[in-house]
């Protein structure tokens, strides 16, 4: 027993000591490797730069002497980091350099490796290099067992951006368990407006959930050309599709959709009404002011909030509509109106005009202030009654607010 315990204690002590040594050795190795790489990077980065500036016809020529394995890895690092933000011809030159040094071949081979991270890295790098010749292999990887590999392959196809692969990417939206819909949508968005036609062509093949995501993509990269098609989607039986179509119409700026969006403010589903209000604001569709004022009394909070913001964003017509709502019977409508008038700066402007030289303006401002006080939202006015630069204004507001408090007490 005694001997056994000593052995166990020594073994655990040894393991702890080994761990400590491992930590120290790992750090020492990392530090050394980082230093060496940094030294080589300083030598090699200017050569890569010279190649990118066109001073050499090929990267091998720019690098000069036969480069070691470690230098190849440093150059690969430099090229992959540069290619992340590279555009146009610089991107092409970087991709050519990767090909010339044989990296594309290596990445292609990695796509067939057993370990998932090799396949994922291969796909990622082929995408960065926009390697057209890897398309077929990448398309096959969309069925890989590993989710990370599938996503990297989709991402690479998106970067390569060949229109013939787009439908395959769109159809992955039908499998939310295998592909993250947001990530695929991001990939599609990054491909630009070209995807819209293909989305519209394959829309009927998508599941209801996938259609919603596809419409998000259209909202992000669509153009007015897609307006008529999106307007049709406002009649869809699925309320999620209707609300995303409403969002899309606002995002692409389809002015023709104004009347349809006004109709959508009456939709039985509140998310459609809420999004329609937002889209009307995006379109700056002034004829919608009466219906948006009505929407301030909606039973759903988000519809009221969005309608109020829409009215604020519609400019003078909307602000006039909001002012008209100050004495509405609906408390929420009044409060939303006050908040938006504050946010748009109207309240402060009117307070500044309380002692204006013009009789008309003065009267209007005073009546406005009374309305705000009556609405029950007095926060900003209380603030101004203490902190406004003009003594007269402060005194006026303090009196008005005090009178209101006294009246409320009497009522009670």
């Amino acid at each position: 027993m005694h001997q056994a315990l000593i052995t166990i204690a020594t073994a655990i002590g040894g393991v702890i000591g080994f761990l400590a040594l491992l930590i120290i050795a790992h750090k020492a190795r990392l530090d050394r490797a980082a230093r060496t790489r940094e030294i080589r990077r300083r030598v090699l980065a200017p050569r890569v730069e010279a190649y990118l500036k066109g001073q050499h016809s090929g990267i091998s020529e720019a690098l000069g002497e036969r480069i070691s394995r470690q230098d190849r890895s440093v150059v690969e690092d430099i090229l992959l980091h540069r290619i992340l933000d590279a555009q146009g011809s610089e991107g092409d030159r970087l991709a050519r350099a990767l090909d010339e040094l044989g990296f594309l071949g290596i990445y292609l081979k990695r796509l067939k490796r057993w370990r998932w991270w090799h396949r994922a890295e291969g796909a990622e790098n082929l995408g960065l290099a926009r390697a057209e010749r890897a398309r077929q292999a990448l398309l096959q990887l969309l069925d890989d067992d590993n989710s990370e590999v599938r996503f990297r392959a989709a991402r690479a196809l998106g970067r390569i951006g060949n229109p013939s692969d787009t439908h395959a990417l769109i159809l992955t939206l039908n499998h939310p368990g295998r592909f993250s819909t947001i990530s695929i949508a991001n990939v599609l968005v990054s491909m630009g407006p070209g995807v819209c036609e293909i989305i519209m062509a394959y829309f009927e093949d998508l599941t209801p959930r996938a259609r919603v995501v596809a419409l998000d993509v259209l909202s992000a990269v669509g153009t007015v050309k897609n307006g008529p098609w999106l307007r049709e989607r406002l009649k869809d039986a699925n309320s999620d599709v209707r609300s995303r179509a409403a969002k899309g119409l606002g995002s692409i700026g389809d002015l023709m959709a104004g009347p349809l969006l006004v109709q959508a403010l009456q939709d039985p589903e509140w998310p459609v009404r809420a999004v329609a209000a937002k889209s009307l604001a995006m379109l700056r569709y002034a004829p919608s002011v009466p219906e948006l004022c009505n929407a301030l009394r909606d039973s759903e909070w988000w519809v009221r909030a969005n309608a109020a913001e829409a009215l604020r964003e519609l400019g003078q017509a909307g602000l006039t509509g909001l002012e008209a709502m100050l004495d509405d019977e609906d408390t929420y409508a009044r409060h939303q109106a006050v908040f938006m008038l504050e946010e748009s700066g109207v309240l402060d402007e009117r307070v500044a005009e309380l002692f204006d030289a013009s009789n008309r303006r003065r009267a209007q401002s005073r009546s406005f202030v009374e309305q705000v006080i009556d609405s029950g939202q007095r926060g900003r006015l209380s603030d101004l009654s203490e902190g406004h630069a003009d003594d007269q204004v402060r005194a006026f507001l303090a009196r008005a607010l005090e009178r209101d408090v006294a009246v409320s007490r009497t009522r009670r």
Partner: protein, 480 residues
Amino acid sequence: MIEEQWVVDGILAFNNFVIFYFLSLNSIYLMLFILSMGAAIRLTRQKFPSDLPLNLESGLIPPISVIVPARNEELTILEAVRSLLRVDYREFEVIVVNDGSTDETLEVLGREYDLRQVDRIAKRSLDTQAIRRVYGSISHPNLIVVDKEPGGKPDALNAAVNISRYPLICSIDADSIIEQDALLRVVTPFVTHPEETVAAGGIVRIINGCNVKDGSVKKFALPNAALPILQAIEYLRGFLTGRLGWNRLQSLLIISGAFGVYRKETVIRAGGYSGTTDSEDLELVVRMQRMLRKEKKRFRMAFVPDPVCWTEVPTNLGDLARQRSRWHRGLIQTVWRERGMLFNPRYGRVGLCVMPYFFFFEMLGPFIEILGYVAISLSYILGLLNREYLVLFLIVSVFYGIFLSAAALLVEQIWFGRYPNWLDLSKLLVFSVIENLGYRQALSLFKIKAVWDLLWRRRSWGYMTRSRFQPANGNGVPVR
């Protein structure tokens, strides 16, 4: 000497139980360590430099309302808010809730950010104490400050949930600052598994000793004081082996209140933060687990180890005792409230494994540990135990613990490497040994005090002595 044989038998049986307990506890930690290594390897291999820029540019990433409850935080609130306003994220708002501070928290915010009162209307989804005023910032349109009647941290968080506009909420402590890309990183599970993810948490590291300027950590360094270093080791073990391991089992029960992101709709459906326990973050996550498992929903709660939140930890024993006592009170209250989940197959792995672990090892553990230390020491002194037995006890309690602390440090060094300074690494190595020789035992005593507090119905929050973050002019290693 004890002459009654049954007493001797009883003591020896208890001693055997204590050894069995330590062996089981440390073996669970060992299993979590092995799982966490696997998770760390996987996470490191999933990281590509092109991911964050794509998420930053994407209009499809859900916007976030960052909520900061603050009570008497005048010393740290400005740095905290500064760090939040400069994060890389496409669409977000910052909501600071002043929960009836008696110091100048509200005033310092007002001076710095040009606050003015606004009549913002909140959707009252959760009940809270009355809101006195809501302020907007003229210089930062996405900053909102809510001044409310004191109601405690959960109440402040609920008020912020009500006022927030976005589908995700991120709670952050007012004595913490997050790294510039922390939001983009912590939101990753909501992007990779948008249909399922309901909560995600990042790692919390200690800011004591680091140099801070304009709301960001400019230089990493461990402090010179022993207590914060011991906590640094403890945090590494807790996050990098504990949470990463539980995360691998899809059984996370804690998302730190200092830095956690939640789907707002789920939080509201679960009833928001509760003021009935002293650990609102743990209680909320357990309640969400119960609700979602009851509904048989597919869901995911994730721990992401690289978005970093830096937080100030206690620098004296009194503050540490109060903090840990509160955490343990919260744990006991939560386990008691949700006792229906214990050994209940309806709640799957959480009901059958995680809750029992929390009950036996986290909740009752401190009592068994302290009683064990006392019983075994006395037994040895009284001659009831031989030296071999004592050595065996030391092996399973102390040596095994040192091994696990060193193992956590290994995960940190190989996969995360946030302490690149040789001096800091040496400190961590030395203190990973010292931690098991007094510090862990002291923590157990603080936890026992929690039961005493509960029996006497004491529920003080245990506010910590605050100091300003250290300005960026000292030693340390520049941030990567």
